[in-house]
C-alpha cells in the first residue's frame, strides 16, 4: 500500500517536472515557429494574420533573400572564412598545446593564465586600435584580415580546450614514439593528432559555430558587401528591408540553417564543447 502511494507520488512528481520542461521548450520553440511560418507568406499576409499558418506557402521570399539579399555570395565567403580559420586554429592550437603539455614549456601555469586572461579581455578593449592597425596594413575588407583575426581571437579557448584533452593522454606514448625515432613534429602528427581526433572534431565544430555567427568583428572589418560573411551581410540587408518581415525572415532562416542542421546532427559534441572546462570552477 505504502509502496503504491509512493509510486503514485513519483508519477505525479515526474509529470510536474515534464510540465516545467515543456513550458521551457515552448518558450524556445514558439518564437522560432513564428519566424518560420511567416517566412513562407507574402508580406501582405504577414501583416494580415501574423500568427496563422501560411495560406499559400511560397518560396519566393527565400529566392529573394538568396539573390537580391546577396546571401548566396555571403554564404560562399563564410564557408571560405570558416574553413580556413578553423584549419589555422586547429593547426596552431595543436602545436601550442603539444608544446605546453608534452614538451613542457618553461612556466606552463603562466602561459595558461595568460591565455585565460586573453580569453576574458573584452573585445572593446582592443577593437579600436586593432581596426586602426588593420586599416594601415590593408587588412580591412580583406578575407585574410578577418581570418587572422578569428584565428587569434579563438586561439586561447582552443589551446585551453586541447590542453585538457591532451593531459589525459599518457606521457609514455610520447616516450615510445621518441624511442622509435619519431621527430617532435612526427609524434604530433602521427601519434597525438590521431588519438585526439574526436576532441579536434568537437573543437572545430565549436570554432565554426562561433565564427559563422560572429558579427562585431565581421561588421567592422568587412564593410564592403562583396567580402561580407553571412551575419555581416544579413545585418545590413535586414536593416534595409526591416519592414519586409517575409523576406528578411527567410534570410534569417537561411543564415542560421547550416549551423542549426550541424547542431541537430551533433548536439552532444556541441554541448560538450561549449561547456568544456566550465565545471571546474
Amino acid at each position: 500500500m505504502a509502496a503504491r502511494s509512493e509510486h503514485r507520488d513519483d508519477v505525479r512528481h515526474q509529470a510536474l517536472l515534464h510540465a516545467i520542461l515543456i513550458v521551457a521548450c515552448l518558450v524556445v520553440l514558439v518564437p522560432l515557429f513564428y519566424l518560420v511560418i511567416n517566412s513562407f507568406k507574402d508580406n501582405y499576409e504577414v501583416i494580415l494574420s501574423p500568427f496563422a499558418l501560411p495560406s499559400a506557402p511560397t518560396m519566393e521570399n527565400y529566392r529573394k533573400a538568396w539573390t537580391t539579399g546577396g546571401l548566396a555570395e555571403a554564404m560562399l565567403n563564410t564557408v571560405l572564412v570558416v574553413a580556413v580559420s578553423t584549419i589555422v586554429l586547429a593547426v596552431v592550437s595543436c602545436m601550442m598545446s603539444y608544446g605546453m603539455v608534452f614538451l613542457g614549456v618553461r612556466s606552463t601555469p603562466v602561459w595558461s593564465a595568460l591565455l585565460m586572461l586573453a580569453m576574458q579581455v573584452p573585445l572593446h578593449m582592443y577593437i579600436v586600435p586593432l581596426f586602426v592597425m588593420w586599416k594601415r596594413l590593408g587588412l580591412v575588407n580583406n578575407p585574410l584580415g578577418i581570418i587572422l583575426l578569428y584565428a587569434a581571437v579563438y586561439v586561447p579557448f582552443s589551446v585551453l580546450f586541447l590542453n585538457s584533452q591532451f593531459a589525459s593522454i599518457p606521457k609514455e606514448i610520447m616516450e615510445a614514439a621518441e624511442i622509435d625515432g619519431c621527430s617532435y613534429m612526427g609524434t604530433l602528427t602521427k601519434v597525438i593528432v590521431p588519438i585526439s581526433r574526436p576532441a579536434l572534431v568537437t573543437l572545430t565544430l565549436i570554432n565554426a559555430k562561433w565564427i559563422w555567427n560572429e558579427f562585431t568583428f565581421a561588421m567592422t572589418f568587412l564593410q564592403e558587401p562583396r567580402f561580407q560573411t553571412v551575419t555581416a551581410r544579413y545585418l545590413q540587408f535586414s536593416a534595409r528591408f526591416v519592414a519586409d518581415f517575409a523576406v528578411t525572415g527567410a534570410g534569417a532562416v537561411i543564415s542560421v540553417l547550416p549551423i542549426v542542421v550541424l547542431y541537430l546532427l551533433l548536439q552532444r559534441r556541441f554541448i560538450e564543447g561549449m561547456t568544456a572546462g566550465s565545471i571546474k570552477g
Binding site: 586573453a118 587569434a152 543564415s255
Partner: protein
C-alpha cells in the same frame, strides 16, 4: 642529457610560437596600445596629441552617455546574476530528475545558444513590432494593458533587450549546471530520501552546496560579460531611444569606430577593463572569505 633537455624546451617554445604570435598581434598589442592611446587625442590618421589624463576627466565628469552606459551595465549585471541563473538552476534540476526524454529537452533548450545573435535580434525585433508582433495578438485577446512600445519606450527598452539576451543565454547556463548536478554522487540523494527530505530540501541542501564552485564560476562569468554587453543593444536599438539602452561598449564602439575618436574610446575601454578587473578581484576576495 642536459643539452637534450634544453633542446626540448626550445622546441616547446617554437611549437607555441605561431599561436602566441597571433594572440600577441591581434589581442595583446592593441590592448596595450589602448592603454597608451588613452592619454592621447587621436582620430586614427593625423598625429596623436598628448593630452595626459584629460580623456579620463572628460569621461568621468562630463560624459553623460558613458554614465548612462555604466548604470545600464550595472542594471544588466543585476538582472543576469539573478534571472538566467535561477531559471537555469531550476530547469537543470528538473532535467537531472526526469527519467526519460532528457536529451530531447536538452537539445531544444540549447537551440538559442547556437543561433546567430543577429538573427535572434531580428526575430525579437519582429515579435516587438507593432504591426505584426506580439502586440497585435494582445489586442485581439483584449489585453490592451500589455500593448507596450517594447523597444520604443525608454523606460522599458532596456528590459526588453535583457529579455532577449536571457532567451539566448540561459540555455548555456542550464547545461553547465546540469553537467555539475550530474557529477553529484547519487548516494547523497538516497540518504536524504531515507531521512524524509522533500524535493525542495534536496535542491536547497544537497544540490546547491555541491555545485557551489560551478555557481561561483558562472556568477563571475556573468558579471564580467555583463559589463561588456553589446550585441542586442547595438543591433536592436543602437543604444536608443535617445541613449536609454546605451552600454559602455556601444558607446566605445560609436566613439572609436564610427566617430574616429580613438584616444577617447581607448580611455573608456581602459575604464571598462578596470571595472572588469575590480569585479574579478571582488569575486576572488569573496571566495577566499567563504
Amino acid at each position: 642529457m642536459r643539452k637534450c633537455r634544453l633542446g626540448k624546451r626550445a622546441m616547446a617554445a617554437l611549437f607555441c610560437l605561431p599561436a602566441a604570435a597571433l594572440v600577441i598581434v591581434v589581442i595583446a598589442i592593441p590592448s596595450v596600445s589602448s592603454l597608451a592611446m588613452s592619454l592621447f587625442e587621436w582620430d586614427g590618421l593625423s598625429k596623436p596629441a598628448f593630452v595626459g589624463l584629460r580623456n579620463f576627466s572628460d569621461i568621468l565628469l562630463r560624459d553623460k552617455e558613458f554614465r548612462i552606459g555604466l548604470v545600464n551595465n550595472l542594471k544588466w549585471t543585476v538582472i543576469f546574476m539573478v534571472v538566467p541563473i535561477l531559471l537555469g538552476l531550476v530547469v537543470a534540476f528538473a532535467l537531472a530528475s526526469i527519467k526519460r526524454m532528457r536529451l530531447v529537452y536538452m537539445t531544444i533548450l540549447f537551440i538559442p545558444v547556437v543561433l546567430s545573435r543577429v538573427v535572434v535580434a531580428r526575430l525579437w525585433g519582429w515579435v516587438f513590432n507593432p504591426f505584426f508582433g506580439i502586440n497585435t495578438l494582445f489586442e485581439k485577446l483584449g489585453w490592451t494593458a500589455l500593448c507596450q512600445s517594447w523597444l520604443g519606450n525608454p523606460r522599458i527598452a532596456l528590459y526588453s533587450l535583457a529579455f532577449v539576451d536571457n532567451w539566448t543565454w540561459w540555455g548555456f547556463v542550464m547545461v553547465i549546471f546540469l553537467a555539475a548536478i550530474q557529477q553529484i554522487d547519487p548516494a547523497y540523494y538516497e540518504a536524504a530520501v531515507i531521512d524524509g527530505a522533500s524535493t525542495a530540501q534536496k535542491f536547497r541542501y544537497i544540490t546547491i552546496p555541491l555545485i557551489r564552485p560551478t555557481l561561483n564560476f558562472i556568477l563571475l562569468l556573468t558579471a564580467v560579460w555583463s559589463l561588456s554587453a553589446f550585441d542586442f543593444s547595438y543591433i536592436m536599438t543602437q543604444g536608443g531611444p535617445g541613449h536609454a539602452t546605451e552600454m559602455m561598449s556601444t558607446w566605445i564602439y560609436k566613439q572609436g569606430i564610427l566617430n574616429f575618436r580613438v584616444g577617447y574610446a581607448s580611455a573608456m575601454s581602459v575604464l571598462l577593463l578596470a571595472f572588469s578587473l575590480l569585479v574579478i578581484l571582488f569575486f576572488s576576495a569573496v571566495r577566499r572569505d567563504a
